[in-house]
Amino acid sequence: MLSLREVHAHYGKSHVLHGVTIDVGPREVVGLLGRNGVGKSTTLKTIMGLVRASDGSVTFEGRDLIGVATYRLPALGISYVPEDRRVFRLLTVLENLRTGLDRAGMTPERRQALLAKVYDYFPVLRERRHQAGGTLSGGEQQMLAIARAMVLEPKIILLDEPTEGLMPRMVGQIRQIIEILNKEGVAILLVEQNVPLTLAVSDRVYIMEKGAVRHQATAAALRADDAVIHQYLGV
């Protein structure tokens, strides 16, 4: 469904991605592991068009994504939860959700249903729905960011380090959310530093180093033998 082939990208003058090749099939959960600074977030940003790919191809359901404006991607079925969450701090929780709910083609009934569903998954968001996004705790903001992406009813969600800065207790919640999303048929491309979580939820895993994919395997295989992970991540 989502295909990256030999993608190169630059941040200003530095060459950050050196030929990344990744595939995500429909309803798959694919993990992207690697040390800090290796290019994992940049890969997601390149898919979203926030960083310009200088070479290679990015296709989604056969459609070429390079050069497509970022704001067109949600309509194609791609949504994004960035690394620093980036909730709209001055908008209320409800308004944050509305940035995704109020799109073309949504009837009031569908909106209400979607909102109810999201509140079911994240009751704390219903409680805080009239509070400004910036006043939420780190964990709550993460939930809001994920809820916001869900509300776009995507085919794939790009999740960038969802457990970063969260208390260990919340990691379990994130895991549950990922599993629920997957059950609903949403594919996920998960960038993470948390290896156990990644291995637990993913179908397949890629490992990146220095701007390229160095290894790929099924999560099952890695769970059985994680020598490769120690080799690349040193954990």
């Binding site: 067109r72 991607l73 949600p74 949504s79 980036r86 709209f88 001055l90 109020d102 776009l152």
Partner: protein, 288 residues
């Protein structure tokens, strides 16, 4: 000096303040969302007044003049944004000042060329005066102050409740994330510029019966609007409204003592003092 003079100047200050607030709101909105300091804002006001006067001459209807001016200038604003400002997105803010300065020169001289140097006129739609203590005060002035307040109020409601208001606020806060949520950011930018331009045009027409229509009115407003936007806190809508009233009142009082040409310095002094002591804005709580 007599109490009645003071009172008249207070009312005058409030009236000018509301109109200035209308101009400054547009400027603040534009700056907040795309970091553009629109040098040409006053010229959009001026063109609005001219278009309005043209429509007024032929139709005799003030309200038709107002509406057509707003529509035409809003369209012009959108056109300008798409052609000249969109390519500059992401470049440093000084480049946009230069670009809007260039646009300002072109618009000013275009107006000179198109309508010539003689002043035009728009007559008040509501004539008559009412009793203000011992004096007669024109009803029209109160009416435009109220109308300006209504327009600004409408803007505020639009921003707070409508879907598009949310889009605009989201884009202002985080353009990249708004994009990732599917909000068509380039369209929002053009729309906001159009709204700002439309509001400036409205001010131009509303103010015209008081000051006449000449090519220089734009410049006065541009400078004052800049002062107000900075004093109110860049990008802060409420602040710029308060600042407009504050500055206009001060100027109105000052013109009791010095000539109106010199009273203008008051706003400049306020700006300088604000920048020295409260650079984030007079009406903005100091950040800790």
């Amino acid at each position: 000096m007599a109490l009645d003079q003071f009172l008249v100047q207070t009312v005058n200050g409030l009236v000018s303040g509301m109109i200035l607030a209308l101009v400054a709101s547009g400027l603040t909105l534009i700056f907040g969302i795309m970091d553009v300091v629109n040098f040409a804002h006053g010229d959009l006001l001026m063109l609005g007044a001219f278009v309005g006067s043209g429509v007024f001459m032929s139709s005799g209807n003030f309200w038709a003049a107002l509406i057509s001016a707003v529509v035409v200038i809003a369209a012009l604003g959108a056109l300008l944004q798409v052609t000249t400002l969109r390519p500059l997105l992401g470049r440093d803010p000084l480049t946009t000042i230069l670009a809007t300065f260039g646009i300002s020169l072109v618009l000013q001289n275009y107006a000179l060329w198109q309508w010539g140097p003689s002043a035009r006129k728009i007559s008040e739609p509501i004539t008559g005066q009412f009793q203000l203590l011992y004096l007669q005060y024109p009803v029209y002035r109160i009416a435009i102050a109220l109308l300006s307040a209504a327009i600004i109020g409408g803007l505020w409601l639009f921003m707070k409740y409508g879907t598009y208001g949310i889009w605009i606020r989201a884009t202002t806060q985080d353009r990249v994330m708004a994009s990732a949520m599917g909000i068509p950011v380039p369209v929002v930018h053009a729309a906001v510029f159009a709204i700002g331009a439309g509001m400036a045009a409205a001010s131009g027409v509303l103010f015209a019966p008081m000051v006449g229509v000449t090519q220089t009115i734009g410049l006065d407003f541009t400078l004052r609007a800049f002062v107000v936007v900075v004093v109110g806190g860049m990008g802060n809508l409420g602040g710029s409204i308060l600042a407009s009233i504050f500055v206009s009142l001060l100027e109105a009082y000052a013109s009791l003592f010095v000539s109106p040409a010199q009273a203008v310095i008051v706003s400049f002094i306020v700006l300088v003092l604000t920048l020295l002591f409260r650079p984030t804005g007079l009406f903005v709580p100091t950040p800790k």
